[in-house]
């Protein structure tokens, strides 16, 4: 069977095909933002042609998309109405009432400036459920009907239904959905008890409103894409990547599009995990560097870690949905370097973007970018840019660096260029360190996977800075995300709040809820056509010490729910708390706040095939030599070195390259530092390691 992964980014759509013989074929095509499915379908045809197959031979279609993300970032979702508990009309407007900036009277509060639901469409109805789930004020059904009609008359395209304590008792929200179906059939409806059934009203309401905000557009995109795929003869359902790193069906994605928000970046991390596994190094840190931003992720033993509740944000909004830990920072090839009024040297987060782009593109950009710096250091040559199909003007890069950096700092262009690179690389180093490695993971136990067009330019240096022993540069760094789509399973995660203590656990409650969640997860997978033999269920729990405010997520054991189960879950929590905060309090009772079940439907994973082997000598791949700037170690001055330049596609397994060296391929360039060497392994990955010179 032929399987394809299609990752639609802002600029490019990346495609990869994998067949039963282990063959992979890749393709890259410009995205079509107006209707991304156009670029996607064209890309699939081109890919099929390149692979010599018919489109109708494709049996599985896995998809990563930034459609949902872009709607949120660009604030262009639909008109949303909300039905909420009387007395609580403005929870979305008040949010957590903490300003994003400390020292600013002129800032905008994003949730007030770009409201998901304008106040006029936030409608209240009389009803109330208490913290135990008991109805203390019955639902005013006439009121619901009246508000539903009003929202219909106003033409809202989606309605979020958000009641207090609905995570405990969804009855009122479900009744509202029935009434809406009568009064305003066909409108997109989101219930807080379905989208995010956990306590914390602001986060739950915001997630539900966000789901409604992006719902109609995302579901129409997904449905349209699924239809196009069917029309083209592609078999099986379209599956989409979620923020939690699992796949869901188009149907499920249409109902809870909020689960797709970080789809694209997670695929890159999953791809990195597969790349690491293929080279025999399962613990990976991934670094995906593009034009304006860099994504960093950490996966100990190739397992994704989920973000802390306070960090599951998208743009200006909070989304209480599981998101794997990947952080995005404003550092990329287009990051602008400057010297500010106070004389400080800065690089990023401002970016020259695609227009005007780096100075060396000659499209009107005059400010120096990291790309300009790397052109001046001789790392990027004309051949580096889409195999020479783009004209590069190094003299413009020189002029920009001279004027904006070298002169103000009173230094030479060489040192200034090196400085731009190092300062930008440092922001990536900090991101890896702060968001990931400082959470108790030792970088010496990881490998750094370089992804994206620019990742392999930076990885060698970052690995040295952090003491990461090796860098893995996959065969197609630019396609890592698309490949990640072919490396995971169908996953549905369902949470519920149980709110009980390890000191006096409500075991019947946990058991009953766990059973319910497992049945729901199984039912969801069966509805997707997953056979029982391919289904596994994973349990986890969100715990904290009694009295703390924030939970940490831990794996919970299988088997019967009893005292031992509670003890084992508590023990797992002590470990995670110890790792996260360097402190454990074994004498304190553990608060089990939420339990979660993830239903996993197994899907065959891509296997990265071997490449042709040869001896150590890479001479056949040598293209030329070129002068490039390198430095021996952090403290030493940069020096110009006549550096060999290799063609990636001509490298063979077993080849060994000593740094400094530059390796070029269609959409990416790899740099190997002075005290490093690279080996091509059996699957064609470059493995960069430090030599003991």
């Amino acid at each position: 069977m032929q399987r394809i992964g299609v990752d639609v980014g802002g600029t490019f759509t990346d495609l990869i095909l994998w067949d039963d013989h282990g063959r992979t074929v890749v393709h890259k095509t410009p995205s079509t933002p107006a209707d991304p499915s156009v670029g996607t379908m064209e890309g699939i045809e081109a890919l099929a042609e390149r692979a010599g197959i018919a489109v109708s031979d494709i049996g599985m279609f896995f998809h990563g998309t930034t459609v949902a993300t872009n709607i949120v970032l660009e604030h262009n979702g639909c008109d949303v109405g909300m039905i909420t508990t009387d007395g609580f009309r403005d929870l979305l407007h008040i949010a957590r009432k903490k300003r994003p900036l400390n020292y600013s009277n002129y800032q905008d509060l994003p949730w007030q400036k770009w409201q998901l639901v304008p106040r006029r469409n936030r409608r209240t109805v009389v009803e109330r459920i208490d913290a135990t789930g008991t109805v203390i004020t019955p639902l005013d059904e006439d009121g619901v009907r009246e508000q539903a009609r009003l929202l219909r008359d106003r033409g809202v395209q989606a309605i979020a239904v958000c009641f207090l304590h609905a995570y405990r008792n969804p009855a009122h929200e479900e009744r509202v959905r029935e009434i809406i179906a009568e009064e305003y059939p066909g409108v997109f409806v989101s219930l807080s008890s379905h989208v995010a059934p956990q306590y914390r009203e602001y986060e739950r309401f915001s997630t539900t409103a966000l789901n409604a905000f992006i719902g109609p557009q995302v579901s129409s995109y997904v449905t349209h894409l699924a239809e196009s795929a069917r029309t083209a003869g592609i078999g099986g359902e379209v599956h989409l990547m979620t923020s939690a790193g699992g796949l869901v069906t188009a149907r499920s994605a249409s109902e809870t599009p909020v689960s797709l928000l970080t789809s694209g970046v997670i695929a890159g991390l999953l791809g990195g995990c597969a790349i690491g596994r293929a080279s025999g190094y399962p613990s990976v840190i991934t670094l995906d560097v593009g034009g304006t931003s860099a994504d960093v992720g950490v996966a100990p033993d190739g397992r994704l870690r989920m973000k802390h509740l306070l960090d599951t944000r998208i743009g200006d909004y909070h989304a209480m949905v599981p998101m794997a830990e990947v952080d995005t920072i404003g550092a990329g090839g287009g990051s602008i370097a400057s010297v500010d009024q106070g004389g400080m040297f800065r690089v990023g987060p401002r970016s020259a973007g695609a227009v005007p782009g780096p100075a060396c593109y000659g499209r009107g950009g005059t400010e120096p970018t990291s790309t300009d710096a790397m052109v001046l250091m001789g790392w990027l040559r004309e051949d580096s840019f889409l195999s020479g199909s783009m004209v590069i003007r190094p003299e413009l890069a020189r002029e920009a660096v001279q004027k904006h950096i070298a002169d103000p700092l009173g230094t030479g262009v060489d040192r200034a260029a090196m400085g731009i690179f190092k300062v930008l690389a440092h922001s990536m180093t900090e991101a890896i360190s702060l968001h990931s490695v400082r959470k108790g993971y030792d970088p010496r136990e990881f490998s750094l996977v370089a992804e994206g067009g620019a990742g392999p330019l930076f990885a060698w240096h970052i690995a040295e800075q952090l003491g990461i022993p090796r860098v893995i540069v996959p065969r197609h760094p630019g396609i890592a995300s698309a490949m990640g789509l072919l490396t995971t399973d169908i996953r549905y995660e369902i949470p519920t709040t149980v709110w009980t203590s390890s000191a006096a656990p409500n075991i019947p409650l946990i058991a009953e809820q766990m059973k319910r969640l497992e049945e729901e997860a199984r039912a969801q997978l069966r509805a997707d056509g997953v056979g029982d033999e391919d289904i596994t269920l994973e349990r986890s729990a969100d715990c904290r010490y009694m009295g703390q405010g924030y939970e940490l997520r831990v794996h919970a054991p299988d088997g019967q729910i009893d005292e031992d189960w509670v003890a084992a879950t508590a023990a797992a929590f002590h470990d995670v708390h110890g790792r996260t905060y360097s402190q454990r309090f074994e004498d304190k009772p553990v608060h089990l706040v939420n339990i979660r079940v993830t239903g996993v439907g197994a899907v065959p994973h891509v296997v990265i095939g071997q490449i042709e082997a040869s001896g150590e000598d890479p001479a056949e791949a040598l293209k030329t030599t070129a002068r490039a700037l390198f430095w021996r170690d952090e403290a030493s001055e940069p020096e110009w070195v006549e550096t060999p330049v290799y063609e990636r596609s001509r490298l063979k397994a077993g080849n060994r390259i000593s740094g400094p060296a530059i390796i070029e391929q269609f959409d990416s360039t790899t740099v190997i530092g002075m005290n490093q060497q690279a080996t091509v392994d059996t699957v064609g990955h470059l493995i960069l390691e430090r030599t003991n010179a």
Partner: protein
């Protein structure tokens, strides 16, 4: 120190005591060390609030963390509540006066003395001396507001006789000495508070936070060496100082006075408002915030620690107005350099510089008012950076009662948000913490799971926001039903003189505490109450002040007025009366012709 204060004021800036050799630092290394300092402070704060117990620390992020040199000069601070960070240098001066020369590796010092640097006594400070090659070179420190400190009343206090009555004071206590934990001392501290389990957890979180800072800073020293790191830190301080001085130089020299403000009362002598006088003197690139003329100190807890609270406020206000993070492209790190150009003065024996042992537990409403007044004083010279008056108080309410076991207390402190005044080009921010405060609210669903209180309402106020070309922000309205008998203590100020309008904008509106509103038992409570009893079944409504308007309402874009009508902030009558805008309530659109006519008629009259 305050005894010697010259009338020219004092600053928070520390004196440089060199424990290193000053060296050149190249621009790249400088950048890298600056980034590392900022991220270590951030990481410290994250550890603290994610593992803390007190709702004030964990939800409200009522905390601060940073790295300091031996004399307390701030190298970096976390991005949490401004009030805390600026105060840590003063804590360090407080502990240095007792402990300088006795520090050993492995010491952990607990301090909360409000006359020796603490912002106020419930803000526990935990400082760890950092050693490098056997020499004491600095401190990692943090502060956090704990739930109770064993004073006369649970949680908060107002009507107390002196500083001993407000809580247990800890003056430079080594809870670890050379790595050895003083378990007896810690036990003694916890035995004397009402929330020992919470305080224990918070203390561990504070220690973990400072230890992390110590570790991270030592790692940085290991990588770059003491001389380079400290020299780089010095350059960053000079940088922040210079960035702020550049802006101060743009303001003409002169003395700028805010309108005299009044606080409701002192919590005991009802009906006696307290005067707040603020004058800002700009002289070249120096600023003096002079509080001469403000009220004498009061016989309750409503006084302000000068060093730990007034000084950080003066600095934050000037920095916010002149280097507003939203309007300033460069990221200017908060450090000792920001303190240098700003001095403050308050006469001894005044509410802003009380004489020992007057209690000074409840100081936030006063200092937020100082911030607001600094802004109002400067508004004529920086109209595009100043704003109309904000709620500029702090509405903290402590709810407490005996727990079901009959032995321990439950205490829940809630900080209710306010709102901002209108701004040049923008409406005021609604329902948000203001000025020196920046805390999070607690989820209602969590409170209802934990305490016998039920929320009946949490919404924007329903009355009209202050008219202006850019209208004032809207305060919130929160209503609680007490399900059991509950004690209430508060340290709010409801703004009996409401937030001031600016440049023709209207004044904002006052706040209120109302018990059992809309019933025959309705009763308006004072903004400051001490151990007030609410019976089971009582309802408490809290209304927060709404900010003032900015510019003439008749200059407001009629479409913005229409939007406010559609969002039910205004009625069509309000639009007509306050803005001269005629809204057609059939088509829900602006009647342009009628509006023009109405506005021109008003302009003539």
């Amino acid at each position: 120190m305050t005894a010697l204060m010259p009338p020219t004021g004092v600053s928070l800036a520390g004196e440089a005591v060199r424990t290193w050799n000053d060296v050149d630092v190249d621009p790249i290394t400088l950048r890298v060390i600056g980034g590392a300092l900022n991220s270590m402070a951030k990481e410290m704060a994250q550890v603290l609030y994610r593992m803390a117990y007190s709702s004030l620390i964990r939800e409200s992020e009522d905390l601060g963390a940073g790295i300091f040199d031996v004399s307390g000069r701030e190298l970096c601070e976390s991005d949490s509540t401004p009030m805390h960070c600026g105060s840590i240098p003063a804590y360090i001066r407080g502990i240095n006066r007792r402990l300088a020369g006795t520090y050993q590796p492995g010491d952990v010092i607990l301090h909360n003395h409000p006359y020796h640097g603490a912002a106020h006594s419930p803000d526990y400070g935990v400082m760890i001396p950092i050693f490098w090659e056997g020499k004491h070179i600095g401190f990692a420190g943090c502060t956090g507001h704990v739930s109770d400190i064993g004073g006369n009343f649970p949680g908060l206090c107002m009507d107390v006789v002196d500083v001993w009555a407000e809580g247990k004071l800890m003056d430079s206590m080594k809870i670890y000495e050379a790595g050895v934990r003083n378990e007896m001392l810690i036990q003694h501290i916890l035995d004397n508070v009402r929330t020992p389990e919470q305080n224990r957890g918070d203390l561990e979180a504070l220690i973990a936070c400072s230890r992390l800072g110590e570790r991270r800073f030592t790692e940085l020293l290991g990588k770059y060496g003491l001389d380079t790191v400290m020299s780089a830190a010095d350059r960053w301080m000079d940088y922040s100082e210079e960035m702020l001085r550049q802006r101060i130089r743009e303001i003409p020299d002169g003395s700028y006075e805010a309108p005299i403000g009044y606080l409701d009362d002192d919590g005991k002598n009802r009906g006696v408002p307290l005067k707040v006088a603020v004058r800002v003197q700009v002289d070249g690139d120096d600023v003096l915030v002079d509080l001469t003329g403000s009220n004498d100190q009061v016989p309750t807890a409503f006084n302000v620690p000068f060093e730990g609270s007034v000084l950080p406020t003066a600095v934050s206000a000037i920095r916010t107005i002149l280097l507003d993070e939203h309007l300033t492209e460069e990221f200017v790190p908060q450090n000792d350099g920001c303190f240098r150009p700003v001095k403050a003065y308050a006469p001894e024996g005044s509410i802003f510089n009380p004489n020992f042992p007057a209690s000074c537990f409840a100081r936030f409403s006063q200092i937020n008012r100082v911030f607001d007044s600094i802004n109002l004083a400067l508004s004529p010279v920086v109209p595009d950076r100043a704003i109309a008056g904000s709620s500029a108080a702090l509405c903290a309410i402590a709810y407490s009662g005996l727990a079901a076991d009959g032995e321990s207390y439950w205490v829940y402190i809630e900080i209710n948000e306010g709102s901002y005044g209108g701004r040049h080009g923008k409406d005021g921010m609604d329902c948000v913490d203001t000025l020196m405060a920046n805390t999070r609210n607690n989820p209602i669903e969590e409170l209802e799971l934990n305490h016998a209180m039920r929320a009946l309402r949490y919404e924007l106020r329903s009355d009209t926001p202050a008219p202006g070309q850019w209208r004032g922000g809207i305060g919130s309205r929160r209503t609680w039903l007490m399900e059991v008998d509950t004690f209430i203590g508060s340290e709010a100020d409801n703004r009996s003189d409401p937030p001031a309008g600016a440049l023709g904008g209207h004044d904002g509106s006052a706040g209120a505490f109302i018990r059992n509103p809309g019933t025959d038992r309705e009763e308006v409570l004072f903004s400051k109450v001490t151990q007030e009893v609410c019976k089971a079944g009582d309802v408490l409504e809290i209304r927060l002040p709404s900010g003032g308007g900015f510019g003439s309402p008749f200059a407001r874009d009629p479409r913005a007025v229409l939007e406010d009508v559609l969002d039910e902030y205004l009625t069509a009558e309000d639009a007509h009366r306050d803005y001269g805008v005629v809204v057609d309530t059939v088509t829900w659109s602006v009647n342009e012709a009628a509006t023009r006519e109405l506005r021109s008629a008003r302009a003539v009259s």
